[in-house]
Symmetry: C2
Subunit: 142 residues, 2 copies
Amino acid sequence: MTAPDGPRRERRTIGVLARQTGCHVETIRFYERIGLLAPPPRTQGGHRVFDDSHARRLVFVRRCRELGFSLDDVRGLLGLVDTGDVTCAEVKALTVHHRDAVRHRIEDLRRMEGVLTDLVQMCAGGTAPDCAIIETLFEPHR
Amino acid sequence: MTAPDGPRRERRTIGVLARQTGCHVETIRFYERIGLLAPPPRTQGGHRVFDDSHARRLVFVRRCRELGFSLDDVRGLLGLVDTGDVTCAEVKALTVHHRDAVRHRIEDLRRMEGVLTDLVQMCAGGTAPDCAIIETLFEPHR
DNA sequence: TCTACAATCCGTAGTCGCTACAGGATCAAG
DNA sequence: CTTGATCCTGTAGCGACTACGGATTGTAGA
């Protein structure tokens, strides 16, 4: 009865991991370098060998990044997970805080979009050398 | 009858210009270094002396930045202004293109915000060590 | 006129989150 | 055993600033 390991601990090269997670190879190495991912074991020749736990962790990082969390936020979340100290309240607070920042950013962009639309509308778009957009941009704030 | 110059060509130090335009002193020097603003004349001791034309141009840059234009975009717009070759059509095209990029960015952020709000709502926020947010973030995409 | 101190000078390095090389070594298939 | 894909390390670059250190200059008050 040799241990049948199964697909639970599947080994993969960095390239395969990259394809599975949608990360670039360079990004994975970068995450390892900055301490976001633990250094995986290597082959005799020095190639990294990743297993499911690495894949899981990388997926987590990637999902967080897709949601706009900073790498520092991700580090914090992973820290909570790693120590086992994680409580819903902490995670929720971090998430709420980030969501509020995202909302704030949306508001900023909306204001920009409004002004840009105004500018576009006040511009005839012809070959005239005097452009209302340019004129307006030379005016101080608001 | 000495030329009364008037307030039209008011001279100012970099600090005063910064206060007038809302830019940091370092940013003004930075803009000069990358060729966005022309090098102003100096005092004997080497301090920069700015006049109204510099102020006008810096206001333009600042307004563009507030609207999210890249420094390269600003360079382009200023280039058009400088050559006198500026036509409404060109400026409008650049502005429309940028507005579309801003809209795109808003859509991205809105999607993030939606997911973040979902996450926040699925989390009880108590002291439980199992957190639904964390669980979800370990799941692959979507 | 002297002195104190604010403001300015320059150059370099750091921020964030990657991305793009260069110049090699290793691995798997045929 | 050769080929060619993949991997390795290290460094430099991006955008748009920001922050520093150490020196110099400008100016207002005594």
